[in-house]
Amino acid sequence: MPLKEEATSLDEAALIAHAASGSHDALAALFALHGPHVHRIAYRLTMSADDADDVVQDVFIGLPEALNAFSRTGDFSAWLRRVAVRTTLMRMRASRRRTATAIRAVGEKDTVMSNFMLDRMAIATALVALPDDLRIAFMLRDIEGYSHAEIAAMLGIRTGTAEVRVHRARRKLRALLGER
């Protein structure tokens, strides 16, 4: 391991230990390091800025106590990412979020846009229009890079079901995007 990277890991290990013991400063430092990643994952899964903000709040409010379950020798970033995914899934399942709100939010943006912006809007709209279970599977597989087995474990489904969901999500996305 390069020296700088090792030093960072050591620093992070200390931060984790201090955060677990209730240090506000350590929690703030972990937030600075990982908050944006948690937020991005939550946003990609929910396609809702409000929900992503809620997830960030949940994760970091619960983090100090949850750190007791973290193996100090493991990859904290990967561990936290999975916690963020699970927290997002829990929130989505519990709140039965209505996609119509998000779709409307996308549609209410500026009316003057470049083709590039329109393409991105089309993609965003298509992602919002995907059923939650398909979007989650797609995002976890194709964007976050989890394996089908990992997705299956996180969602509590069989690996084959995860594969089917990813496949259906890709097919539906293509349809929504007019095979672009």
Binding site: H24, L27, A28, F31, A32, G35, P36, H39, R40, Y43, R44, A49, D50, A52, D53, D54, V56, Q57, D58, V59, F60, I61, G62, L63, P64, E65, A66, A69, F70, R82, V83, R86, T87, L89, M90, R93, A94, S95, R96, R98, T101, D119, R120, I123, A124, L127, D133, D142, I143, A152, A153, M154, L155, G156, I157, R158, T161, R170, L173, R174
Partner: protein, 374 residues
């Protein structure tokens, strides 16, 4: 499509998605986290993968009920009664107007004696106002006299997938009698540990029927502190919001008598139900509040089917109570409430259900009850 084509398409899509902007993390995120932790708020995160479900998919849960029970437990607010309320008047006939509205909207088929029973229960007295003749199945009128003012504390426990347990702090509901702009009214104020940071805190309803008159909510996790208050009349709701967003609007909405947010149905509606062996009916409740609170009253109302299925003795922290066992169910899940036969309080509620691959169980129990002496 062959594999390489598929890979190319996926890669193109992934690249396009990677260009999508993620909204920036809010500047006050960390300060809100710190403030909430400083107030003692804790959230049990799921740190292990869920067990593989026995079946894929599955029916939805009584999501609104489960979430609402949780929302009730996590509500935290102190009422600022009347603070900044619009200087508009409430019609003295607001309750009657709401009843008229409900009658006008009632399908003709619901005016017969059997279906009427459901309608009547759902609206707490609407059929009587609609001119229904009392008979064998006499209309069940909302009986506000059964609501005893006092302060009631509840504890709550949530279990996900039978494994992950979150124990919430106590929440309290205080009910008192008051006069709201000349109308005899009931006020319910809720207080408790803050988790969502956004929730209802107080509701005023007319005492002769649970018709909403005024709603106030404070959002302590927002900076500057957010406040929403709303006044209701027979045709519209006037909502004003201050804090991070300053705005006001009038939303056309015909409030019906008996339409209450679930958390407020517990102290303001359930105790007034004339529960007897075999009693059954439906109540309408609002979905739980969420950060898009402004759209709250435009969202669909949910119907809970209630049925008295027995009488049991229940032991909770607040004591031992003789209770009506009331089943709440729909095709997506079910819950059970135990309602005291003497003081009409909800003593315990257990909501179970499934949403996708996740199972939920929420338990809610009376910790203490302090009744006002007068």
């Amino acid at each position: 499509m062959n594999t390489s084509e598929e890979e190319l398409r996926v890669r193109a899509l992934r690249d396009a998605i990677e260009t999508l902007e993620t909204p920036p993390l809010r500047d006050d995120s960390l300060s809100r986290i710190s403030a909430r932790r400083a107030r003692g708020e804790r959230i049990a995160l799921v740190v292990a993968d869920a067990a593989v479900a026995g079946r894929a998919g599955g029916r939805g849960v009584v999501a609104v009920l489960v979430a609402a029970v949780a929302a009730l437990v996590i509500a935290a607010i102190v009422m600022r009664r009347g603070a900044g309320a619009p200087a508009t008047s409430i019609s003295d006939g607001v309750a009657l107007a709401a009843v008229d509205s409900a009658c006008a909207n009632a399908p003709t088929t619901m005016r017969d004696s059997s279906a009427l029973r459901h309608l009547m229960i759902s609206a707490f007295g609407v059929p009587a106002a609609c001119g229904a003749e009392p008979g064998q199945d006499a209309p069940i009128a909302f009986d506000a006299s059964q609501i005893r003012p006092g302060t009631f504390s509840y504890s709550s426990l949530s279990i996900t997938d039978g494994v992950f347990t979150s124990r919430h702090g106590s929440s309290a509901i205080t009910v008192s009698r008051m006069t709201w702009k000349g109308v005899p009214a009931l006020l319910a104020v809720r207080d408790g540990p803050l988790i969502t940071g956004v929730h209802l805190d107080s509701l005023v309803v007319s005492a002769d029927g649970p018709t909403a008159l005024y709603w106030a909510s404070t959002y302590y996790t927002q900076h500057p502190r957010g406040v929403i208050h709303a006044e209701f009349d027979s045709t519209s709701i006037r909502i004003a919001r201050t804090g991070r967003i300053d705005t006001a609007a009038t939303i056309p909405f015909r409030m019906k008598s008996g339409q209450l947010p679930f958390g407020f149905a517990l102290p303001l509606a359930i105790p007034a139900l004339p529960l007897t062996p075999g009693w059954h009916g439906t109540v309408e409740i609002a979905p739980p509040i969420d950060p898009r609170a402004y759209k709250y009253f435009l969202r669909p109302w949910e119907t809970m089917r209630l049925r008295v299925v027995g009488r049991e003795t229940v032991r909770v922290a607040a004591g031992v109570f003789d209770c009506w066992k009331v089943q709440i169910g729909d095709p997506d899940g079910e819950a059970t409430m135990w309602v005291s036969t003497s003081n009409h309080l909800v003593i315990r509620s257990i909501a179970v259900g499934r949403n996708g691959d996740t199972s939920f169980e929420d338990r809610h129990e009376l910790e203490s009850a302090i009744f006002d002496s007068h």
